[in-house]
Amino acid sequence: MKKEDIYNKLIEICGADDVSIDDADLVASGDWIAKGLEALYKNISFKAGFLVTPKNRDEIIQIAKYSNINKIPIIPRAANTSLGGQVLPIKENTIMMDFGKHMNKILEINLEEEYVVVEPGVEFWYLQEVLAKDDYFFPAEPGSAFSCMIGGMVGNNASGASSFRFGTTRDYVRGLEIVMADGTIIHTGHKQNEKSVAGYDLTSLFVGSEGTLGIFTEIYLKIQPLPKNEISLIVAYKSLDVAFRAIQEIRKLDVDLALLEFVDPMTIEGMNANFKYRLKKGIMTQKIKVPKRDGTLLIRLIGPNYKKDLEKLQTVLSDPEKFADDPPKMEVMEDSIEQKHLWDARHYAGPGIARSMDPPTGPRMFVPAVLDVAVPPSKIVEFLKQAKTLSQDYGVIPITMGHIFDGNVHLISAQNVTEENLGKIKEYQEKVLDIVYSLGGTITAEHGVGLWKQHFLEKEYGKATMDVMKKIKQALDPNNILNPDKMGVGEIPSIVNFEGLGETR
């Protein structure tokens, strides 16, 4: 198919202002996450063919019908904050469909039935801001809360630090309006009903499908009353072992925990560097410094009994009988602005680490298959210890932070990858995964499969399960036009298969 013909058709559907082939738009819409890969594979382009910003479902239907007949790939894109190469174009003439420009409206807020109807381009923070006016919120908060959009959250079943308490995005999606690959429009679930067992749970199937099964045009989300009181606590033990002993004690307590995070000294350094910058710039007025200790926990309590809960926690965590060998440093934060700064810094702790370092002068690649693994929560310490030893053997210095109660650990291993050390890093990655699987874990708890992790799925689930996934894809998108060759259900691109590496962010 000629590029010019596709371009003209897209303009016919959406108008010239909403179709672009300008390189700047194409770079900005997706291929920037391939900085590392492009340095290795100089003759491969990771650029979409077209950027389209549809205004409504009718335009999307027309694009889908046209693309399906002509086998033109479409990638539905929200804020491009995904971390698995989900929206990286790998096929010629890919249509990058961006919802942020037009399809960004909250269509309905129903407090009586506790739901909202939104378009995919609604930003998470904006929805929260609007709901907060009525003391409501949408609880599935990912680390990318500052920038992500609801469409992307649903596409990736986004979750984050508070998921052990509030659940993941899937738990809040009551239903969807979806444009299928052939342009058919379907509705799943019931926006006003919390419960329904009528038929297959298609909503759950589409949530987390990473744009491979359909294009969301409306999303029905369950919302909840905003928890009122909150208090935060930093607890820092010198030893990681002691910190995890403390966590076992916390598990036994009846307290309303909203967050319980483990951060390692390098993460803390990044957080503190950001606090220092913000203080200097006058963005925050109160000094915050998280103690740089190996066993540091960040805790947030909510609910009407938060003060009593705090007392219980403080008493247990500093119990001289249990923690005489390593008494913790504890700091309580009551001021809501101060707490916001603390948790903001934790939210962007990943990119924040860069502030405490010199800017890199060349491409770095993260080891994607170790970035957001999860193991059974009781095995976290074991995993961290084994991963640390392995990392030392391979000369890798990973940064670790994690959501303790759901076993999700972010092991961030940014490497300057060269042709020479590729093999070694691939080996390291596979050995970390061996540890994860031996402990009964998963390769990805939050970030998704996307492009990078798909060749590991068969190891995690087995061939028979993967065949079912492939059959679903084949049934719903027989021409493989929706975000093709991602999620392990298409033809896995050779570069990914060979290296198992890619840059995330």
Partner: protein
Amino acid sequence: MSEEMIKYYYLCNACGTCRQQCTVFRTNLIETLTPRARVTLAGELFLNKMGITKKTIDAFFSCVLCGICENSCPSGANVLEVIKATRRYIIEEGQAPDTISKIFEGIMGDKNIFLMDNEDRMGWAEDIEDKIQNKIKQQSEIGLFIGCQESFKGSLYNIPESLVLIFEKVGLDFTLLGDDEWCCGAPYFLMGVSNEKVQEIVKHNIEKMKELGVKKIVTTCPGCYLAWKEEYKKIDSELPFEILHSTEIIADLIKQGKLKIEKGHNKKVVFQDPCDLARHSGVYDAPRTILKSIPGIKLIELEREKADAYCCGGGGLCKASYPDVATTISKNVAKIYKDNSAEEIITACPACFDNLINGIEGLENLTVKDIHSLILELIK
């Protein structure tokens, strides 16, 4: 092309935190106009992975250089450094918007951004000729640097005029360069350009101030202020002047009891922190000291204040090439102020004043007032 273009290319994780507050992106929600996109595009241009396109030019020249992105960037990317370096590259490649070339032509030829006869620089003082005729090119410790906008744009004449009358009221001596004042060069600095010709202009202004025995340079324009404070010092590291914004000197006069505002101003006001004065220079208190000394005034502080304050959209020379973007920003900001019950927006910057006048169009019971004019009204 300079290394600055790629300095943060590998650092930026494209996390998108900058999207939430980017002044320009929020007006149109086009990803190409986000700070993270600009950092990426600059690096791609540097690496010759792409060429300059129309949207590339839009991305770099529509930026208002407010710097909010730098506040929010967790990784510490100095985005403005990248944008200025890339603007310079695009200019060198001859692909800058025509409006920028015109401004440069004006500065080099006529010594002002409006391509006007520089001998008419004192046009702003026509109504107070008697008060300033013995001030022009006279020896004094205080040198007022008026700036192009206030010198040539009739709607802004009242700003320097008011300052002069305030100084007269408190008996503060000062001098003016008259037609010896040349453009401060800020438009070049906003484009990352500081070549020999620009340095000649800078040196001219410095020499003229030195000749008059000036010790303190006072500007009402935060753009000129930042140019003197940051860029002039880069060119002349031994710059023998204290650089002050007019609000700083007025706040000092109030603190010393030399200026007392007794008349009341019973309004709910919001102060528009000028980016060049506030976020980029850290001057937040002086204008607030002034406003808080006015009886009856109610100063509203928004949740986003000071370093995080909203930009009016009038900076970075965005307005020269993308007036619609600048106007949309100002309308959005004015609406926010209105929603926060403000009755008046107080400005301390000619660009803020000029742009917010457009911003309040259609909004009832919301006015814009320059801080100097307000003070003068209340001490007359």
